[in-house]
Symmetry: C2
Subunit: 563 residues, 2 copies
Amino acid sequence: MTEDWKKRAEVKRDAILAAIPKEWRIENPPNEKQVDVTGKFVQQFLSEREVEITETTADDIAKHTVSGTWKAEEVTRAFCHRAALAHQLTNCLHEIFFDAAIADAKALDEYYAKNKKPMGPLHGLPVSLKDQFHVKGVETTMGYVGWIGTFEGKTGTGKEKKFESEMVKELRNSGAVLYCKTSVPHSLMTGETVNNIIGYTWNPKNRNLASGGSSGGEGALIGLRGAPVGFGTDIGGSIRIPAAFNGLYGIRPSTGRMPYEGMANSMDGQNTILSVVGPLATSVPSLRLVMKALLAQKPWLHDPLVHEIPWRHEEERQILEHTGAIGDASKIGKLSFGVLRSDGIVNPLPPVCRAVDTVVKALEALGHEAIPWEPPSHKTLLDEGIKTWFFDGGTDLKSAFALSGEPMAEQISFYSSPSLKEFTASQIAATNVRLREIKKEYMEYWNSTAEKTSTGRPVDALIAPLAPFPAARPKMYSYYGYSTFVNVLDYTSVVVPVTMVDKWVDRRDEGYRPIDDTDKKVYESYDPEIYDGAHVSVQLVGRRLQEEKMLAIAEYVGKALGM
Amino acid sequence: MTEDWKKRAEVKRDAILAAIPKEWRIENPPNEKQVDVTGKFVQQFLSEREVEITETTADDIAKHTVSGTWKAEEVTRAFCHRAALAHQLTNCLHEIFFDAAIADAKALDEYYAKNKKPMGPLHGLPVSLKDQFHVKGVETTMGYVGWIGTFEGKTGTGKEKKFESEMVKELRNSGAVLYCKTSVPHSLMTGETVNNIIGYTWNPKNRNLASGGSSGGEGALIGLRGAPVGFGTDIGGSIRIPAAFNGLYGIRPSTGRMPYEGMANSMDGQNTILSVVGPLATSVPSLRLVMKALLAQKPWLHDPLVHEIPWRHEEERQILEHTGAIGDASKIGKLSFGVLRSDGIVNPLPPVCRAVDTVVKALEALGHEAIPWEPPSHKTLLDEGIKTWFFDGGTDLKSAFALSGEPMAEQISFYSSPSLKEFTASQIAATNVRLREIKKEYMEYWNSTAEKTSTGRPVDALIAPLAPFPAARPKMYSYYGYSTFVNVLDYTSVVVPVTMVDKWVDRRDEGYRPIDDTDKKVYESYDPEIYDGAHVSVQLVGRRLQEEKMLAIAEYVGKALGM
């Protein structure tokens, strides 16, 4: 068996590559020879028209396809081509089904020709999916060798290559075209994307760095414009990390807003901190477009965990109507922000500090205000919250690895510790109570900021790092506190790209005195030479179920930054 | 210690009685001498004006107090008096704080006089609370002797008699007057209300029977009109059972609609099936009034588990605007109902069958339709759901009883079994996954009814028994499936009173062939002589988070029944 898994992984890896048409095959230069494969590098393999299509945002593509000025088939072919290049350059795909996609696109064009109207608001829009979604015709391996040829590790279920996740149906109903599934780290429990099938997913903007995780394939693919919009999942940062590392917008909605029904998962049934599903894209209107389209499908009628909350235009109206007038805070209404410069556990690296400053200054220049964020202890919150990832003592993951005998990646070796034990019901209950208390305390802190703002309202959003580094270097992702505190609180968070690392500006402080060993490890991972050119992002955190408002604010902030 | 608990219980029991002014003390005739203590019996101890006030529904009282035509103090005094009588006749109170209530009422009257406006939509309205709410100045024992003089069993917390639950604050902000806390069964895990402090809470309409549980004090108190509206909680039927047994309306909202923050509970932290809080009252507009008032306080800003869903008039508008025209289904729009006559596990007793028929006939006569409800197996659903009550193997309850050494009531003796073991995290996760699958299957069954209705829509609500019996006889509550399936699904359910047992009509079927021993036990508990005159109710079950719509339908059905 030990050698068997290597062979099975190789066969699968080859099958993925083999699904790319010969004419789209390229020579992939070594990472060190071609660190940045975005922009001009990838464009050389594409026609002008393909570049035009693939560098259009999802919302603008939809305007063309919905109005019929662009054909679904042409758009789909362009993205299939670019996704094929992206995979060859970064290892970002687990499943390729271009033929099915082109057939679907043709059917959409025929539908349009016949009915003189689009199938739905996503008519003809290619959408990529993390390899947790089940799509008919292809597998879901989630990076596990033992899942190859199975349905979530089981055989003979009758669901293999047939069953579709709820959101997949809803995307199809809305007219979206599905064409590929993207890479994940096996287990989903790390911010780097690595598994024994496709290897390591690289950051296309800087191939010294991780594309992020666990939705790292989405990050790399959309970062290279191999998809205009795609869906990831997030239990500790897994949508936002790849969004941030790849210069994208990405939203972690609160639990119960978007349909997770029928997706594969790790440690399914742990229901203290739930993984959520949400989109990544190159613009905020793209995120809004797909979320609105999905909510228009009334997912609460098909997913028992989705709340009946349709898209609430009222929550975004005031900000959206005045985003054009970014010079005039009096129109949009003055906004108040909290600023978290450090959580006191690990300090962000110089480029991240600069990104936070950049956002604050841009907003202040427009007449808004930012006050220091002095919340209840993040350490307490994180210590309690992270317990949930270990409730089952690694039982679920170990059984997935045992299916094939493949080894765990070093990045998740903490799950192989023999000292891990299953929590008892009483221990889980105590954690749940403590987490509810922590949420209550944090919520009341948020309320209390009304006393510190000049608006008399609590802050509208929190500006915070998403990770201590712009992106992680391989095997150096050692601290998750900045992304994970949001999951513990179940808040809404949108990643906003801010700048890029400039080795001449973002220098190391050689006199830096680390807080402790964890902080030291992070600081020591920073090398301006290696990081030069990497994307730097922040997150804007809102209260629970504030998706409309937070997207509006993120769009406004993006415009303020000129992004 | 063994004898000590008896003494502590007696002291507390006496203190409750002692809080009733001497002039309100009465002689309580033996149950068998005076089976029904409602109506004329209790009225004999009240003035005409007191009867007028206390027999007005909460929504009509609020109209008077909000417009200033009735004074808060007069209303409060009347309800204090009647609550004092109710306690003496049924043992329905754990805490009495009439003096504080009268002082609060006077302050409200002064506020009104000074500001020429009410404090809020509940200005001057007395509201009773189940003894899980913390209210300053009084204890919360939840029926545990070991909790007397503590905060949830702990001493030195600084919260004793000071801390208030979130909803208590919101009720006060809305102008409500709090004056008593009502009895519960220790553990909260039974449909009868019994504990070692106050003994047994009797059904005022028929003192052969239970007032229900676990919000049994609420049921008895409101049943006797000692409160116009009050709040209970429900994890397996605990709001609806006392509502049904006492001829009241009561709603079990879905999880996340009403604020539970800061309340005492059993097995706190079990978060697979959550207990929810909701009102019981003598009319639907009374339930609506308090729910709307609470949502107007934006509880999602103070309770991390409440969803931001304000009252949605749109969901009730069409039905409400035409409830006057109940003869005309074309105006209200034809409604479709599912009818569950039996869950196949235990058959409802004759009066309950008659109540279900009565509702169906009344609706059909008005032009609506009812189709048989043939859902996925309730047995499977219940077997899985009820596991959640045993996740901790009784650890929490045993520790509460151990505080004083008091014995568990026979009604919950299943928790003292030495064979109970704590579930592991993996076992809990497997249960959570299975329950999600069960919910999904049930939801799709509901969707599928669109193919069977004449409206082309899925059914608007399900008509179902709330319990197999009109009320339980002491120690004979042996089956909870009719109430509990709603909690497992997290659906909205409103209890509607329908009729009363008539021993001449609701006869035993001496040839009845029971399904099995459980069914036999229930059937054998039915004795028309004992049950004569008892309330008989049904529940109207709606999908998750359908509170507005379900209240509108319940009000409509109530009018159709002439209740």
